[in-house]
């Protein structure tokens, strides 16, 4: 009987002792945190995707409170106004951004140099003599971005190209760094007018290897009266901030490499204006 009592007493004693010890320690060693950190963390998406460059949403919340990150530093969050309110500052522009794969030269349009049977990884394929595609700038369609996407927003279509589902995309930017060819960029949501090609070779070279590659002819630059299109290294680049979505470049592009949703009213005006 004595052993039972001794066992119960000793374990209870130890338990109580440790309990009190921990309780005292948690009081003495309490770390004061800014209540705003918790509040902002609640307002952030909580996916801990790391797109902001901080370790998780809590890391960003701490940085915002500290003042080392702006209130709209989260590329995923669609609305930064509540966070701005917590911090007591004016809300900056909080436009939603989505990823876009800037290549539309798939199996049908672009030529292949050799049959690739290696591992299903764009980096591996890219390092193997520049990849199986004749175009060294185009989408390899092996799905490194698909794997990188934490929101299952990217898929490879039947034409062997990566496409982003704008609805599912949160603009976290993980795929941007997953693409060995730098094809994916974060652009404003709503299907902006974009040149879907990154090939900087001269026109003749591009024509031989891909039917929908930008040949750098400059027709779109002349069409644009907003000055939104520039030619850099034989490649047309559209500034989405200047573009007013008139759609004339889309209509005139000889290789049909420019796509995007067009403002119908502006297109009608352009046609009736006789241009």
């Amino acid at each position: 009987m004595n052993t039972v009592i001794a066992a119960v007493l000793l374990l209870t004693g130890l338990g109580v002792l440790f309990g009190i010890g921990l309780a005292v320690a948690s009081r003495k060693l309490a770390v004061e945190t800014d209540p705003r950190v918790d509040e902002i963390e609640r307002l952030l998406p909580g996916a801990n995707c790391g797109a902001c460059g901080y370790p998780g949403c809590r890391g960003l919340a701490e940085a915002i409170v500290e003042g080392s990150a702006p209130v709209n530093a989260c590329p995923v969050s669609t609305d930064c106004a509540p966070i701005a309110e917590v911090m007591g500052v004016e809300a900056l522009a909080c436009e939603r951004q989505v990823a876009k794969v800037r290549c539309i030269g798939g199996k049908k349009e672009a030529k292949e140099r050799f049959a690739y049977v290696g591992s299903k990884d764009c980096f591996a394929a890219h390092q193997l003599a520049g990849g199986p595609k004749a175009c060294e700038y185009g989408c390899l369609g092996l799905g490194s971005c698909v794997e990188a996407c934490p929101f299952s927003a990217i898929s490879i279509n039947e034409n062997g190209l990566a496409v982003v589902d704008e609805e599912k995309c949160t603009g976290c930017g993980q795929c941007v760094s997953a693409c060995p060819r730098d094809l994916i960029a974060l652009l404003p949501a709503g299907d902006p007018v974009t040149v879907y090609c990154r090939n900087t070779e001269k026109g003749g070279v591009v024509r031989k290897i891909c039917r929908t590659g930008c040949i750098g002819c400059g027709i779109c630059v002349k069409q644009c009266d907003q000055g939104a299109i520039t030619l850099e290294n034989n490649l047309a680049v559209i500034d989405p901030e200047k573009c007013n979505r008139c759609g004339r470049c889309i209509a005139k592009c000889p290789v049909k490499v420019i796509h995007g949703t067009v403002d119908e009213k502006l297109t009608a005006a352009a046609v009736s204006g006789g241009k």
Partner: protein, 199 residues
């Protein structure tokens, strides 16, 4: 001094907690996908194993005084859980950098059976360790765990690019790999440490 050296190298290579005693397999398989996190886990385990060895040695003396030696397992679990909590608080207060680096691995160690294992092995009468020897055994056990998990994480990182049959991808091949690494460590069991260290 000699006995300490023997315990130290013995616990790392010959009786490696993961690869020879098969303790702490859960974090060994769970946290070894990336080298970086494996290093963090290894450091945290080493820290807690050393502390746990020292404290449970004293607690065991207390148990033995009351003739309650059979309560060692449950008491050690209690001690380790409290210790991990306490260490977490201290780190958070005085070393936020280390606290951030160890992150979620610190609380996970509560359920690492290598920690309980080292505490129980230390009090084994046939080993007859004293306080210093027990602490060294705990520290070396942690170092051995770190070595094993780092080796394993390095292998698994390379395995990511290996062309494997679909059914073997991921966890199945990791289990086979763990077995192979363990067999490799069996090679150490024939070492005569005394001769090797020139003692």
């Amino acid at each position: 001094m000699t006995d300490l050296l023997l315990i130290f190298f013995g616990a790392i290579f010959i009786n490696n907690f993961v690869l020879a005693r098969f303790l702490g397999i859960c974090p060994f398989l769970g946290v070894s996908k990336k080298l970086e996190t494996a290093v963090g886990m290894g450091l945290a385990v080493t820290f807690v194993m050393t502390m746990a060895s020292a404290i449970t040695f004293g607690v065991n003396k207390l148990l033995l005084r009351f003739n309650l030696g059979y309560l060692d397992t449950i008491t050690f679990i209690l001690v380790i859980a409290v210790l991990v909590q306490f260490v977490e608080m201290i780190l958070r207060k005085y070393s936020p950098g280390l606290y951030q680096a160890l992150g979620i691995y610190l609380p996970l160690i509560t359920t690492n059976c290598a920690v309980l294992g080292v505490a129980l092995i230390n009090i084994d009468p046939s080993a007859g360790y004293n306080f210093i020897q027990a602490t060294v055994n705990g520290f070396a056990g942690g170092v051995g765990f770190t070595l094993a998990i780092i080796l394993f994480a390095g292998l698994r990182e390379r395995l990511e690019f290996a062309p494997l049959p679909k059914a073997m991808e991921g966890f199945p091949i990791a289990l086979i790999l763990a077995g192979l690494v363990s067999i490799a460590f069996l090679g150490f069991s024939g070492f005569r440490l005394q001769a090797l260290l020139g003692l």
